[in-house]
């Protein structure tokens, strides 16, 4: 049964801080995420190599080396808890037995450290979304979907605590929209296509979670908003477009929670800030300590209301001190330790405000993550239950907020950015509020060799 959100989970923005939330999540071994402490979440991947049946022994050895290094460092640094994310690479989901084997190796080692040292940890299992490998994508059937289901089921059976994904519904349409900074098409991709996919997808994921006593975690619009953030950071597309992309992924993500997800939301989903305000579920986020994975203008503010603090991903490469995943582990633990120290002294709000104010006036993508702004956007979203209208109105409100910030001199934007505020506004001002009409218009505009409307039920 779907849940509905008609008001925010919080009544005061002062309570909206890191490490705690109204609806914490407890793992089977008692790790309470959002219960008062922020925990490190470590993610890692292979160095450059081919993944084939014959390289699997090498792959397994590398993952064993990684997890041993990560857990040993966490134990040595007295981490009160740890979340480990295993994000598969495409080959490992296409061959579910590989992903399942790697996951078991990781999870079993985590069980060993818990038994031996009392280090409480949880595994976030994130198969990638292979459905986009069909061109146009086949969303609800076929070999790729079946491989994903097998991966979710096998790993949940073997002890995965939290199920997550970076789903790609609508991405096949949005990829070209990103490089064109085409907000109208992005609204179609997120509000009409992705939203329909999320309901179907997360009903299924949540069913798998329930069947195996795992936690239905959350999704990320990584391929939409993070790709935009990275391209903006590289100077390819406007920052204000990336900023709107960040906020308009929220209605899509909310559908996961409406259909069974309970958190913690995934690290690269900065839209988690709005989701936490609306639903009170715990969230993972990434910022300065994920610079190993991507650069960003939101290094500190991203931590301000996080319940898990992540490095996003790093390869098993050697740095002067040791392997990069262990470096990330140490850095995340120190970040969390500092924030927990402040929280234990009753100063979580003050630390949150330091984190917010250090970034929020320097970049529109940081400005939009301010707690007060999160509440403003969250309140706009819960005014209606229609994903398309939520998406459209969030876009309009975001542009309005940015214009207001510039006018109030809270934000200084380059001239080309100011031009794009106007361009983006004009792109969407003629979008009809009737979704059917909008879909009819977009069906004429978007190349149907890129996507199949029937896969989204339109």
């Amino acid at each position: 049964m779907s849940r509905q959100f008609t008001k925010l989970a919080y009544t005061s923005v002062d309570d909206f801080t890191y490490g705690s939330c109204p609806n914490p999540v407890t793992t089977k071994n008692g790790l309470v995420i959002g219960g008062g402490l922020i925990y490190p979440e470590v993610n890692f991947t292979l160095p450059p190599m081919n993944i084939r049946q014959e390289t699997m022994p090498e792959v397994l050895r590398i993952y064993k080396d990684i997890i041993d290094g990560v857990l040993k460092k966490a134990h040595e640094l007295h981490a009160p808890g740890l979340v480990v994310e295993f994000e598969t690479l495409p080959d490992m989901t296409e061959h579910p037995e590989w992903g399942i084997e790697i996951h078991k190796l990781l999870r079993d080692t985590m069980f060993e450290y818990e038994a031996k040292y009392g280090l409480k940890s949880a595994m976030r299992m994130t198969p990638n979304d292979l459905r986009e490998m069909s061109r146009p994508p086949v969303m609800r059937s076929g070999q790729y979907w079946e491989a994903m289901v097998k991966t979710f089921e096998g790993t949940a059976r073997d002890g995965a605590d939290i199920l997550a994904i970076e789903s790609t519904g609508g991405k096949e349409v949005n990829d070209e929209a990103i490089v064109n900074a085409d907000l109208r098409t992005s609204i179609f991709a997120l509000g009409c296509l992705a939203s329909r996919d999320m309901k179907w997808l997360w009903t299924n994921i949540s069913d798998i979670a329930k069947a195996h006593n795992a936690i239905s975690g959350g999704d990320s619009a990584c391929g939409f908003a993070n790709t935009s953030m990275v391209l903006a950071e590289q100077g390819f597309i406007p920052k204000v477009y990336a900023t709107v992309m960040r906020t308009i992924t929220t209605p899509r993500a909310l559908i996961a929670i409406e259909n069974g997800a309970v958190g913690p939301g995934k690290d690269c989903a900065y839209e988690n800030v709005y989701l936490k305000a609306i639903t009170g579920t715990p969230i993972a986020l990434e910022g300065k300590s994920a610079a190993c994975a991507h650069f960003s203008p939101i290094g500190n503010i991203a931590a301000s209301v996080a319940d898990l603090w992540s490095n996003e991903s790093v390869q098993q490469v050697k740095l002067l001190s040791g392997f990069a995943p262990v470096v990330s582990t140490e850095q995340l633990i120190y970040d969390c330790r500092l924030m927990n120290t402040a929280a234990n002294k009753g100063q979580a709000k003050l630390m949150r405000d330091f984190l917010v104010e250090s970034d929020c006036y320097l970049d529109p993508q940081a400005y939009i993550l301010r707690p007060e702004i999160a509440f403003e956007i969250g309140n706009e979203i819960v005014k209606t239950q229609d994903p398309f209208i939520r998406t459209l109105n969030t876009a309009k409100l975001t542009l309005e907020i940015l214009q207001r910030a510039v006018k109030n001199k809270e934000l200084v934007l380059e001239e080309r950015e100011l031009n794009w505020l106007d361009i983006l506004e004009s792109q969407i001002e003629e979008i009809p509020e009737d979704e059917e009409a909008f879909i009819a218009e977009m069906k004429k505009e978007v190349d149907t060799s890129k996507y199949n409307p029937a896969e989204y039920g339109i």
Partner: protein, 214 residues
Amino acid sequence: MDFEELSLAVQKGKAKQVKELVNQGIEEGISIEKILNEGLISAMGIVGDNFKNNKIYVPEMLVAARAMSAGLAILEPLLTATGVKPIGKIVIGTVKGDLHDIGKNLVAMMMKGMGATIYDLGIDVPDIAFVEKAEEVGADIVCISALLTTTMPAIGDVIREFEKAGVRDKYRIMVGGAPVNQAFADSVGADAYTANASDAAENAKAFLLSKSNK
């Protein structure tokens, strides 16, 4: 003909006006090559500089590129008829197993903007397809892209296919993508690695110009 007017129309992405001006130039008997070089390619040069100097973003470049393409579509049959060759032919694609195309598309767009003929194989390209297309069209440059560390080794596999076919030295092979670096490019025997799309286009242009000067 006002080349300044044509150039500005390209820069602003006014495809309709570009087509009108190109047709007008043809009717006036202006050299096809001159319309191409001083109107279209010159404009894309300015667009590229504006991007490098942080005055515009990729979307503005794409809009300009589409306008340029509209004009180019009119000129190409006439260029072929008069025997004028493009600056060069470039085959480009993302390796097998890799679905990323944003960076590859940027490179293709910038290389097209400098006057090269682009054969875009898309994403998830089988190793041998690079060789087949290069041979089919008589390419000057082959660009191979990978965005994942796990698909990056496939760049080396593609290069080995060129070697196996005995045609490696017919082509300049350029590589790129997020996990790729100079050391990797050297290790697989690529001819060039660049860190971004602008450098890739400049690198290709320098090579093509020096090749045509031989």
